[in-house]
Symmetry: C2
Subunit: 466 residues, 2 copies
């Protein structure tokens, strides 16, 4: 990185917030995606929207890549500086600006940790439902970038369903708001929804207005062991068809729960040899007696399948332990083997077909997989395990298998990513879900916002469109 640029960056944010030492470049060169490290040439830590506007103006003038960096928990490589350039750490924009109790809204900066946001509004009796597994360390700004989901999406929706308005710095340094702080809006094209899920490629989000709900007061949590994994998938649809909308409906294959349990205390779950999968099912609301009725109905549904004894979590401690177990799956798999994670999503009734197909594709290409995820949304995370596969096969065979998994997914009217984004690692599978006409539209949007391609270049769009 050229010295003139470094000096200008120092003038913008102050010398103590510009970093070029190897340790920092390495520290900001990864997220949670596999074992990738792509360090930026410089890390900059602005403290305000004005500073960010100045940085982008500079970068735009000199055509320097800018990669926004949040909580570094992404799973699609969205925060990797694959072309070097400026690593724009958002960490200092970490204030909750206002909790608007009168309108049930919160205005926040992007570097607030999602769990902190949830807990802070909960103290006022308000509820921000979106709870990605990484919520203890991810930033709300990153959730906007990837349109994150989580366990409660099945009832409450994903990030996009709570975003009312965004302050955004465009690549040319202009600052705009995308919409209004209203629950309804039919005023021109939806710039807010265009920004949500755009993975830092169209603009830098600097303020976020979110809708909140009144906080629910009670919940009931069940863990149901199934002797057949495909029946667990079938049960997912059956629960909805019985008229119940659970607040969470999570699927875990045997290995997922088994590996994760090693890292969790405070609960005794016996995973038996013949338990192929578990469903973790929650209902929530304000009336305990109604929740018990709904839990009874759910029991009636799952008992039509081949299940073992159902665990009712009967204390907060037990509930927390079950959730810790579920949230710990990705980490547990990571600790066990090198892996690649795919974020398939299909209409929920197609889950059994998807699961079966994934296993067959695995057999064909010689890899094992551990599947788990938000089955209520049809969102199945597929962890492809290296185990003792040769490096050669891992490199050549696995991508073929992934391509087939995505082809199956798209054939089932699903798509490549439910909540992790496309980022760096899935971009060259994009032509499975989109044809040239669609890809050209997507690229046209990118060019409209970012004609010099400085913002997070090399993400989302495939290397070759035509």
């Amino acid at each position: 990185m050229n010295t003139t640029i470094l000096i200008k960056l120092q003038e913008i944010v102050g010398t103590s917030y510009v970093f070029t030492d190897e340790e920092n470049l390495k520290k900001y060169g990864h997220d949670e995606t596999e074992d990738f490290i792509f360090p930026p040439n410089v890390v900059v830590k602005p403290s305000s929207v004005e500073e960010i506007a100045s940085i982008l103006k500079l970068a735009n003038e000199f055509k320097i890549p800018v990669v926004p960096i949040g909580g570094q928990t992404g799973l699609s490589g969205g925060a990797l500086a694959i072309h070097g350039g400026i690593g724009l750490s958002m960490e200092r924009l970490n204030r909750i600006i206002e909790i608007d109790e009168k309108n049930l809204q919160v205005i926040t900066e992007p570097a607030v940790i999602t769990q902190v946001l949830r807990e802070t509004v909960a103290e006022k009796g308000l509820f921000y439902p979106v709870d990605p597994s990484s919520m203890g360390s991810c930033f709300i700004g990153g959730n906007i970038a990837e349109n994150s989901g989580g366990a409660r999406a099945v009832k409450y929706g994903v990030t996009k369903d709570y975003v009312l308005n965004l302050e955004v710095v465009l690549p040319n340094g202009e600052i705009i708001w995308t919409g209004a702080n209203t629950l309804k809006n039919s005023t021109a094209y939806n710039l807010t929804q265009l920004m949500v899920g755009s993975e830092g490629t169209l603009g830098i989000v600097t303020k976020i207005v979110l809708k909140l709900l009144p906080l629910y007061k009670h919940n009931v949590l069940l863990l149901v062991p199934f002797f057949k994994a495909e029946q667990a998938c079938e049960a997912v649809s059956a629960i909805f068809r019985a008229g119940i909308i659970p607040s969470a409906l999570e699927f875990m294959e045997r290995d997922a729960i088994d590996w994760s349990l090693q890292y969790v205390d405070g609960i005794s779950v016996e995973v038996k040899e013949n338990h192929q999968a578990h469903l973790l099912i929650e209902v929530d609301g304000n009336y305990p007696e109604i929740l018990m009725q709904e839990a009874e109905k759910i029991l009636e549904v799952v008992e039509q399948f081949e299940i073992d004894e159902v665990l009712f979590a009967d204390s907060e401690e037990q509930k927390n332990a079950l959730w810790k177990m579920r949230r710990g799956v990705a980490e547990a798999v990571k600790a066990n083997s090198i892996y690649k994670e795919e974020d398939t999503v299909v209409p929920r009734y197609e889950l059994p077909v998807l699961l079966k197909g994934i296993k067959e594709i695995g057999s064909k290409y010689g890899f094992q997989s551990v599947c788990y995820g938000h089955a209520g949304d049809g969102n199945l995370h597929v962890n492809i395990i290296k185990g003792n596969m040769s490096d050669e096969n891992w490199k050549t065979e696995v991508p073929k298998g992934i391509r087939e998994i995505f082809e199956l997914t798209v054939g089932l009217k699903g798509t490549l990513s439910g909540e992790h984004g496309i980022g760096y690692v899935q971009k060259n599978y994009m032509n499975i879900a989109f044809n040239t006409v669609q890809l050209n539209l997507l690229q046209g949007i990118k060019q409209l916002f970012d004609p010099n391609n400085i913002l997070n270049p090399g993400k989302i769009l495939p290397d070759n469109i035509n």
Copy 2:
């Protein structure tokens, strides 16, 4: 319209589906916006996506405007052929293609009447919640175009919250799908949400995949008369702050309810001289005893304000009559006077300020207004009444007043339209909500999709941006 083009259109859709007679041109030359008539030069009624693709290819080649026409119930002039050209009536694409009970989805063509769609899925125990007042005659495709709301949006959201995927014909005749049939999607920029609310200016929607919910079984409906209109507005926020999310929360000024009651049988509502406004409040769910508890809580809240006797609707007939009264307000106002309708929306707690401001602006410019709408969403319809105002003042003073109303709305963090769209009549107020940077982005999106500006030209964007 040149004969060569007419012959080509006849070749595409068949001679019996191309109309150039005055009666038909006039019939398709209006929607429900004031008394505007802008006839197209030709009305074409295609029956398939392929025919629409051929029509757009032709129009694009010869740079002929194409205006999609649905149920003709729009309130922003979106379906008016202000530059003539081809009136593309969607009426023959009127099939519900599939009700997917397994995935709680429906796939439909755009010319299905919204109420028909709701009733058809209800027969299967499924619920499409979006219920614009015009649902008895509007098309679901028009709802997509305008991102329509309605009374239940306060709990269930608006059209955009139910659209999973769209088949769209682009202006160059290419046919694309915008997304996938999934509840979650983090796969590239959100083309689906870009299309929703784009008022037929980016593409022609030919198939729609909607999310459905299980049908709720019970509801309770209350009508609460307030002695002070602003207190009715204040009560709206207070209900939410008490932790209740009603399924409808409608505000009607005295004149609105008074005029509409003349058109409704089967109910006896005494609107007294000192009733300044009413709230119509509904809660819904599957458990009658819980609904009664919630109704009690609502009563506790509204009793903190100055109210008269509350009406509990105690039969289906009475509920239907109350809803007919509410839905009939726009028609009743229309029958009473020439008027202009604005579709203001603000964060809901700002409603009393907005209402007060509207009345003051009316006094300043010498017009009366009747206000009503979806107060739970902060969405207030402002009907500006001509009454015995002079034609001169109606033409010169009222636009100034409207501009001030919108400036107030935007100042309260609201915007120009909550659910009617910008269309023809509000486009030159767009610079109140958007600056040049934002307007250029919006125009860039239009140019990307429609470089020859053939699709519904002269809508949404102001005549002069810079």
